[in-house]
Symmetry: C2
């Protein structure tokens, strides 16, 4: 038995969540519903303008791994924080869920960057607009990848956002090689349509050459295959990857594999804060696969977990996901 | 017109809130329902043991001032944080509510202390057990008090917790003198029964000599007057102070002044997290007085605000308090 069912790699950060009106987004030049990268001065300026905020651990792949740990999965995370107060919060919250997190924290005295944070503005419709200061998370390099840990993973899970760093793409390559050589499998999430736009060729290469399981949402899938037709994009993806899992908001999710295709309905919920929906879908889906559930069931688990995380502020589960799975008769 | 309706002085800190069972309190030697002071090593150890946490700005008087600012009151806060990440969070959240906060932040490089934090464990009954690392908040001295700001306050509000520092008692004396000389009035909260135990003589002297309005809860009032009879304690307090406002949990609150006594019923609520109940009672009460409401109405406003803050996790209002006051026909 391998030590880990899933090892995730991504941008380690703390979310700063605040409510904001549509006018605030417009006044501050914030694109609604997507992730935009900001530098430290912009982070400071934006923070000074937002209202009462709350800080909770975030990071896309870290949310996924926290969800798997919450479900009792054997899981680990790789991502870079500094040994500062936000870094301590990030590390604590992952470990408190039962995930292994051993990436060394950079000394507080290291110049120039702090632990990454994401200022997330939640509009009254529950949509979230993310303003990401990558900070120390940007400096993930091959040196941060422990090949033995990757070899001990049934699955690795790679966060597309980290494609924004060339060294990190090399780190992914190192992780993939170590994982695959030991018989492990590779999953990747496209993360964001504009991130796909920035790195389409690199993503595509990795999808075709290395990926066993591709996660995306509708916008990312359309961006990847440069089409307005989701069916066409899904078919193309399914021809390139063994398993495709694509979320589609209130319409639920599609799972494609081996010429088959399943549609899984979403679980109706009042959307309080959409942050983490895709992350928790992926977490529950991967956990389901490692438990031997069918792809269709894994999709259902993903939709149930996503519905929990959008029903409250913050991107990590607050209710008992296993109890929800049972309540819905999914496990 | 004075610049400020209320200026509060207290321990500036960030709350670290986590859920815990009764067994966790017992296993870790935590006294339930009270505030206990801890040092940094204990804070680090305890934090490593608690589950998923969330960080929100706290500090007793700071919660009170945030509540007054939320209600549109002209208000300021004095308390010490460092120029670190938690200090930035604390300052932001006060200012985002509209409060003035000008206490200089100590440079990050200052040795030995960080911004204070309070690890609050919330048990299933909604009771909170507080583990306070005072950190930089402990070093409040007379030099931190701006006499002109105090002279510009209709009321000052002094947090009893800060009696744990001798320099801070002198800071209080300086603030009282400046406020009273300019015709302002002095309110104080006893904060905690064990804090009263530690500093009973100093509290008593301040109550008799300087205090116009005394806030306390049942346990603090009994500790102050060393009796098991709340009526006796209230009568004694009312003989020493112009206005006494004493909360009594689900039994509501008592307000005494000029030989009169009012009982105000609590607003029935499911208690999710009792943190901040007394703080928000005081905030709404003081705001009510500055708006010219009667003492009885001020007590009602206090009970309504307290019921809001105990209905969710965190010690600052999330719902619109003014709307709640109107809904209850209190304003």
């Amino acid at each position: 038995m391998k030590t880990f069912q899933v090892v995730g790699i991504g941008n380690a950060m703390v979310d700063v969540l605040a409510q904001a009106g549509e006018g605030f987004l417009a006044d501050n030049g914030i694109e609604k519903g997507i992730m935009q990268l900001i530098d430290m001065p912009r982070a400071v300026e934006l923070y000074s303008r937002i209202g009462l905020a709350r800080e909770v651990s975030g990071g896309s792949a870290a949310n996924t791994i926290a969800g798997i740990a919450h479900l009792g999965g054997r899981t680990a995370y790789v991502g870079k924080v500094k040994d500062d107060q936000l870094g301590a919060i990030f590390a604590h919250d992952l470990r408190a869920q039962g995930a292994v997190f051993e990436t060394p924290m950079a000394a507080k005295s290291t110049e120039g960057q702090e632990t990454g944070r994401c200022i997330i503005l939640v509009t009254p419709d529950g949509e979230r607009s993310m303003n990401t200061y990558l900070g120390w998370s940007e400096f993930l390099t091959p040196a941060d990848i422990d090949p033995e840990q990757m070899a001990q993973a049934e699955w690795i899970y790679l966060e597309g956002y980290r494609f924004d760093g060339p060294d990190s793409q090399q780190a992914f390559a190192k992780a993939i090689k170590a994982c695959k050589s030991a018989g492990g499998r590779v999953s990747i999430t496209l993360s964001d349509p504009f991130c796909v736009e920035r790195h389409r060729a690199a993503f595509r290469r990795m999808i075709i050459e290395d990926t066993d399981l591709l996660f995306a949402n509708r916008a990312e899938m359309l961006s990847m295959y440069q089409t307005a037709d989701l069916d066409a994009a899904l078919s193309q993806a399914a021809a390139e990857v063994e398993i495709v899992a694509c979320t589609d908001g209130a319409n639920g999710a599609y799972v494609l594999s081996g010429g088959e295709r399943w549609h899984v309905a979403s679980v109706p919920t009042e959307v309080v804060d959409a942050t983490g929906a895709g992350d928790l879908f992926a977490g529950a889906f991967l956990w389901g696969l490692t438990q031997g559930h069918s792809l269709e069931t894994a999709g259902r688990l993903g939709c149930i977990a996503a519905s929990e995380v959008i029903s409250h502020i913050g991107a990590r589960p607050e209710a008992d996901l296993m109890a929800l799975f049972r309540k819905h008769g999914a496990v």
